[in-house]
Symmetry: C2
Subunit: 112 residues, 2 copies
């Protein structure tokens, strides 16, 4: 089933501690009957960032547009459109947008 | 871990019966330690298509660029950049590129 265009899906602000300027669209998940994993699209405003945190599940990430930085256990790497990131479970990580440009990425997580 | 840019990953022709002009890049999978699901990026050449088939696992798809058609149990829908598609298990489906333009999309599947 075609869900539609990503921008037609409601963007919800991410209110977690440590998040700044982040919105999330759940584009494929429980309402669509996804049995195993959930696809979300995140927008990080210029200068914004996700929490610097860890959790017991993985992220599979594809950068759609913009520029930013990926932080993993103290290391920093630049991000641009077309970059792919795998965050294993229990690894401390953060996504940051550039000061002058936002960052949009897909992040797939297990459903459970 | 940043895997790198999608175009740095080797593109492998899809040799399945019914596939035409399709290449696949496995950008996150077993070699990266992905425990639950695998992220692939497909390129379909102008006029090309994936097999018209079904299987017992789902697809979670995000169209990155180009134009094409999604066929599901006889229904056809147009595809363009930013479109999201969920293919449930056991549903007959096909991805076709436009005659004059290729189609690139992410397709996530369970690892098992």
């Amino acid at each position: 089933m075609k869900i539609g265009a990503v921008d037609q899906v409601e963007a919800v602000p991410v209110e977690m501690d440590g998040a700044s300027g982040v919105t999330m669209r759940v584009v494929i998940g429980e309402p669509q009957g996804a049995p195993n994993f959930v696809m979300r699209v995140f927008d990080v405003a210029p200068g914004g960032h996700s929490p610097h945190h860890s959790h017991g599940f993985e992220h599979e990430v594809f950068v759609l547009s913009g520029r930013g930085t990926f932080v993993e256990q103290g290391r920093e790497e630049t991000l641009a459109a077309g970059d792919v990131v795998f965050v294993p479970p229990d690894v401390v990580h953060q996504f940051r947008a550039a000061a002058d440009e936002g960052l949009r990425f897909i992040c797939v997580v297990p459903r459970a």
